[in-house]
Amino acid sequence: MEDGPGWIRQAEADGRLVVSAGGAWTVAGAAALEQAVAALAPGPAGQVRFDLSALERVDTAGVFLLRAAARRYEETGADVALEGIAAQMRPLFELVAGNEGREPPEAPRSNPLTAVVERLGRSTVAGVRELTALVGFVGEVTLTAARISWRPRRFRIVSLTNQIERAGLNAIPIILLMTFLIGIVIAYQGAVQLRRLGFEILTIDMLAITMLRELGVLLTAIMIAGRSGSAFTAEIGTMKVNEEIAAMQALGLDPVEILVLPRIIALVIALPILTVFADVIGLLGGAAMAVVSMDMNTTQFMVRLGEAATLPHFIVGLVKAPAFAVIIGVVGCYEGLRVSGGADSVGVMTTRAVVLSIFLVIVADAVFSIMFAAMGV
């Protein structure tokens, strides 16, 4: 099996050039063989004979390079004859001869500077289109939801419970751990700063307000966007790639009704519940820190906390949860349905879903803050 490495050399015999090649001309040695071919010095000669009888093994790359060598002599105007090709190698030479020299069309090269501008323009237009399409999708989901509420029996209850389990129940441990730690951090930072002003006791108010109004719900929403929103996109996107979505539509099944609605409703149910957990555990984390680091016993802390953590603060935080849930669910499902082509598209859309839903959640949070400020709560 082991043949000698390929070689090619040129010699002159009674006024004629003879180029002989031998050994193994295969893709494994193609880099060296290409250099050997480039090193040939085609002189002006009327006739050139290629003696290929010493070839031990060739493959398509080898034949391609041998023919490239012959072409170099032809370009000087010589008559080239390939001789001594073993019978079993002949079909390969014919195959390559029939298929070479068809370069793919060059991709148009563009100025890198204008290319940047072009990409910027394209992505701006695409972004605007995406947002309008997202609004259209919200309308579609709303219509479907309205249609379902007329005939609640069509609603997929099994799918809903399944989604609640995955997006809600299974997320509880990580949410608890995260908000407990955040509670500790806030209480600690607050206590250090406020102690200098002599208002250490206000740490508890600060903890209660930030946790209940903002951080509990916001952190939970961000965690769920990363955890469930991305899963929605990946699941639906993979179904799109496998043409399962097209199959559903062909069978008269509505993907929005079957796939999208249960996921969104599951989040609308799960996110407020998770937020309650987050609020309670966040306060507990803060309490633990306060009791350890402040001169306060548990009873004192609890009394103060009871005064600070009022129902309005809690409600203000909680009403945001369903809105955030809708944003995460809609964006996740929408980007999943937008997957087209292959597996890489699933990855692109999943990333986009997470980034977009977190961004929109924060925008919505700002809008809520302005609204509540105007309402004076």
């Binding site: 295969t26 893709v27 494994a28 193609a30 880099a31 290409e34 493959d59 398509t60 790359a61 391609f64 079993q88 079909p91 390969l92 014919e94 195959l95 390559v96 298929n99 070479e100 068809r102 370069e103 793919p104 069309p105 991709a107 087209s340 082509g341 292959g342 597996a343 890489d344 598209s345």
Partner: protein
């Protein structure tokens, strides 16, 4: 060279949980032949192919590929044997984030150090060899039709000029004209490149048209023989397979074609 076994399987046993797929399977594939592999759905054709390639570890048995023990040989020898094989997976299994040209070049990049212009020219050659138009090179797999994806997958399988090529249902999902064209392509390339081909197929036309021998997977083993051998086999599944109406039509067509040729 004919007669030398490039693949030698002895006493192969494949088991998933309690489901035994292969048991005591023996098979020799000879250099330069086109071996068709047929069998009912779920009879373990794809698993057999993966096992030969060393991508599936069997529960027992010995598998030798190009003289290398696939299960117990040293890693380097096994990798070397693998690069001398090309695989066309069901549906092509092209890398969707790469263009067709880049897909064809992927094995070269991994195993060889070739200058970029040479790789471009070799990829263009391979793409032309499988009958794709030149403008297919810069396209992504998602932009190709099913038949073109199969051809692109074949071009990638041939990237390193392998000695053995495995094809998993290459003509499934193609229209009859496309399938016949693909059969012809495989036959032509097999002759020109001196390939050994192992082809899983359900396409009776392909079997009749291009396979030298046929391996039938029944009862967790293979029965290998020519078309004529299988026609005489008394096994009920083989009877049904080779004597059904579709089989008769396919073989009649193949007989006519070979009659005209000779």
């Amino acid at each position: 060279m004919a007669g030398e076994a490039v693949i030698r399987i002895r006493g192969l046993r494949n088991q998933f949980g309690r489901q035994v797929v292969h048991d005591g399977l023996d098979l020799d594939v000879l250099r330069g032949e086109v071996l068709g592999v047929v069998g009912g759905s779920g009879s373990g054709k794809s698993v057999l192919m993966l096992t030969i390639l060393g991508l599936n570890r069997p529960s027992a048995g010995a598998v030798e590929l190009l003289g290398v023990d696939v299960l117990r040989g040293d890693a380097e020898a096994r990798a070397a044997a693998q690069t001398r094989c090309g695989v066309l997976f069901q549906d092509g299994a092209l890398f969707s984030s790469l263009t067709v040209t880049e897909n064809v070049q992927a094995p070269m990049r991994e195993h060889l150090r070739l200058p970029a212009p040479l790789m471009d020219e070799l990829a263009a050659l391979k793409i032309a060899m499988v009958g794709l138009p030149p403008d297919a090179g810069p396209k992504y797999p998602g932009e190709l039709s099913g038949g073109m994806r199969k051809r692109a997958g074949l071009a990638r399988a041939l990237s390193l000029d392998p000695e053995v090529v495995f094809l998993d249902e290459p003509t499934a999902g193609l229209d009859p004209i496309g399938a016949a064209g693909f059969d012809e392509l495989i036959r032509d390339l097999q002759r020109s490149l001196g390939l050994t081909v192992v082809m899983v197929t359900h396409d009776l036309d392909s079997l009749a048209a291009i396979c030298d021998r046929i391996a039938v997977l029944v009862d967790k083993k293979v029965r290998v023989g020519t078309m004529a051998d299988h026609m005489r086999d008394r096994h009920p599944w083989i009877q049904e397979y080779f004597h059904g109406p579709r089989a008769r039509a396919a073989f009649a067509a193949a007989d006519m074609a070979s009659g005209e040729g000779s």
